[in-house]
Amino acid sequence: MKNKILEIKNLSTVFYAKHSGQGKETKELIPGKAVSGVSFDVYEDEVLGIVGESGSGKSVTAYSILNLIPNPPGKIVSGEIIYRGIDLLKLSSEEIRKYRGAEISMIFQEPGTSLNPVMRIEEQMCEVFMSHGKTDRAEALKKSIELLKRAGLPDAEKRIKEYPSSLSGGMQQRVMIAMALAFRPSLLIADEPTTALDVTVQAQILDLMSDIKRENGKSSIIMITHNLGIIAEMCDRVLVMYGGKIQESANVKDLFENPLHPYTSAMIKSIPCFGKKHEGRLNTIPGMVPDIFNLPPGCKFCNRCEFKKDICEKKEPELKEISKEHFVRCHLYEG
C-alpha cells in the first residue's frame, strides 16, 4: 500500500452572496455551497484527476487545500486537510506560507494573469527563491535559469530578462511550471493547466509535466480539468465532481471502461471523440449545472438524470464502494 501524503476529510467551502442566481436578489447574505463534505486521499507518486464542469467545485477544492479561498466572501466551514500529519487549516497564515510553494505548489489556468505583468520574469523567479530559502540574488538567478531550461524554455538566459507579455502562452505556462517546481514540491496542484493553450502546445506541457514527475521521483500531481482526454492520458485515479460533491471515484481504467454514475457515463458519451464515427447526433445531457445557491435537496444530478427515481429527489445517496476502490454516489447502486 502506498503512503498517503494528503488526506482531505469532510471539506466544505461556502461562498456568501446576496443574490440567489437568477431572479430576485435576497436581502441577507446567503451561503452558496461550492464544496460540501468532500473527502479523499492523495498517495505518493500518483496523478489524481479531478474532473467536472464549471461550478462543480473542483477548483474550490484545490484552492481550499492551500487555504487560498478569499475570505470574505468565501469560507471553509468544516473539514481537515492533513498533509503529512499536519492539519493545514489549523495553521496561521504565517505558518502555511512555509508549505505553499515549497511543499505543495500550484499552477493556475491562465498563465497570463497569474504572472505579474510589470515585473520581469527574472524578478518573479528570484523572488520565489529569496522568500523561501536563504539564497542571495546571484545564486537565485542561476537556479532560476536552470529551472527554466528544465521546463523547456528556449533561450532561457535571454527570456528571463523579458516581461511576461512578450512570451507566448505556452512559454508563460513553462515559466509558471518552473516556478512551481522550484523547491521540488511533493504535491503539485495543476488547475486546468492547458485550457488556454493550443493543442500542440498542450501536448508539450502535458509531456513536460510527466517528465518532471518521473525525474522528481515520489511527487504527486492533482490534475484539475474538464477535459476527459487529459484525464485518460495523464491520471492514475479520478474523482468526478458535480454539485460540490464527489459523485464517483475510481482508477482511470474502471472509470472509462465501466463508468457507474449516470453523470459520468453521460459525460463520456456527450463529448465528440476524435476518430470515432458518430451516427448523426451527439448524445447530450439536458439542462445545466445546478446553481450552488439553490442546490436540489436529494441527488445533485437528479434533474438531468435519465434513470431518476422518486427517492432521488428526496434523499441524497451515500458514496458507496461497489468494487475495489470504485466508489459511486447513486441510488441505482443502493440496497
Binding site: V199, K253, P272, L282, M288
Partner: protein, 331 residues
C-alpha cells in the same frame, strides 16, 4: 464559378499595416496568404489551426468585417458569392454596397458574453436585425422571433431576460437565433462552443446540425478542437501561418492526414479512452512563429519533424492525393 457553389474564395491575400515604418511606406503583415476554397450550397467547412494561423481573418473577410475594423487592411483576390445565379465579389466591397448582402452572411462569435448587447433583452437582440434588414411589421417581427426562439430551443421566458441573466449555453442560442433572423445563406461560427461546458457543448453542436438542415445553410465553422469539426463539418481546411496546408473531405483528411502538421495536430488531441499503453505522439517543438518572422520556403519547416534542405529553398506546391484531398508538402 460553378453553379452548385455558393461561395468561392480565390487567392485571397490579406495584409494588415504593421506598426513599423519602412522607407516611405509601412511594412505590412500578411495574415492570410493565397487562400482558395469552394463551398457548395448546403456544405459545411471546418477551419482548424492554432491561434495565429489566420482562420478568423479569413472568415472576417468573408463577412466583410475587416475594413470596418481597420480601413488600411489590404485585401486582394476574390470572394465570390452566388446569389440567385448572380456572381458578386465581396472582397473590397464598400460598407454601403455590403448592406444588401449582409443579411445573407451572418456570423456567430466565440464569446457570447461580449457579442450580445447587455442593455437589450434577448427578444430585442433577436429582433434587431429584422428592423434594419426586412420590412416586416411589428407583429410579424414578434412572430418571427418566437419562431426562431422555438427553433433554437429557447424557452419563452428568455424573451424578457437580459444577457447576464442567461447561462452560457442560452446566450449562445440567442446568438444563433439572431444570426438566423435574416434568413442567411451562409452562417459563420467562430469557435462557437469553446467557452461552454462539455455537456452543453453537445447540445449546441446538435443545434448547428439541425438548423443547417432545416434552414438549408452553408456553414463555415472555426474550431481548434478537431473532434468538433469531425462531428459537424463535411469538409475541413487546416491552416498554418495564413496558408491552407491541407484540405479535403473531413473523413478522408482525418483518416489519412498527409501533411506533417495535420498528423501532429491529430496526434496531440488527448483521447478520452483508457489505454494500458501510452500511444506514441508526435510532439511539435516550440510555438507557431510570429507572422512577422515567417520561415522561408515552407511555412511549417521550423517545427516540422521531416524538414529537409529543400523545404527552406522553395514553397511546396499543392498536390492532390485522392479526389478533393489536397496538401502542400514535399513528402
Amino acid at each position: 464559378m460553378k453553379a452548385e457553389n455558393i461561395l468561392e474564395v480565390k487567392d485571397l491575400v490579406i495584409e494588415y499595416p504593421s506598426g513599423r515604418k519602412k522607407f516611405l511606406s509601412r511594412e505590412r503583415l500578411r495574415a492570410v496568404d493565397r487562400v482558395s476554397f469552394n463551398l457548395p450550397a448546403g456544405g459545411s467547412l471546418g477551419l482548424a489551426g492554432e491561434s495565429g494561423s489566420g482562420k478568423s481573418t479569413v472568415v472576417k473577410a468573408i463577412a466583410n468585417l475587416l475594413l470596418f475594423n481597420n480601413p488600411e487592411t489590404k485585401i486582394r483576390g476574390e470572394i465570390l458569392i452566388n446569389i440567385a445565379g448572380k456572381e458578386i465579389n465581396l472582397a473590397n466591397m464598400s460598407r454601403s454596397g455590403m448592406k444588401k448582402y449582409r443579411k445573407l452572411i451572418q456570423i456567430i462569435f466565440q464569446d457570447s458574453n461580449s457579442s450580445l448587447n447587455p442593455r437589450f433583452t434577448a427578444g430585442k437582440i433577436i429582433e434587431e436585425p429584422l428592423l434594419y434588414n426586412t420590412k416586416l411589421g411589428k407583429n410579424e417581427r414578434a412572430e418571427r422571433v418566437n419562431f426562431l426562439m422555438e427553433k433554437t430551443g429557447l424557452q419563452e421566458d428568455v424573451f424578457f431576460r437580459y444577457p447576464h441573466e442567461l447561462s452560457g449555453g442560452q446566450r449562445q442560442r440567442v446568438s444563433i437565433a439572431r444570426a438566423l433572423s435574416t434568413n442567411p445563406r451562409i452562417l459563420i461560427a467562430d469557435e462557437p462552443v469553446s467557452s461552454l461546458d462539455v455537456s452543453v457543448q453537445g447540445q449546441i453542436l446538435n443545434l448547428f446540425s439541425d438548423i443547417q438542415k432545416e434552414f438549408n445553410l452553408t456553414l463555415i465553422m472555426i474550431a481548434h478542437d478537431l473532434s468538433i469539426i469531425e462531428s459537424v463539418c463535411s469538409d475541413v481546411a487546416i491552416m498554418y501561418l495564413g496558408k491552407i496546408i491541407e484540405t479535403g473531405r473531413t473523413n478522408r483528411v482525418f483518416e489519412n492526414p498527409a501533411h506533417p502538421y495535420t498528423q501532429a495536430l491529430i496526434s496531440s488531441i488527448p483521447v478520452p479512452e483508457y489505454k494500458s499503453e501510452k500511444r506514441e505522439r508526435i510532439i511539435l517543438k516550440g510555438d507557431i512563429p510570429s507572422i512577422m518572422k515567417k520561415p522561408s520556403g515552407c511555412v511549417f519547416r521550423s517545427r516540422c519533424p521531416k524538414a529537409a534542405d529543400i523545404c527552406s529553398e522553395k514553397e511546396p506546391e499543392e498536390k492532390e492525393i485522392t479526389s478533393g484531398h489536397y496538401f502542400s508538402c514535399f513528402f
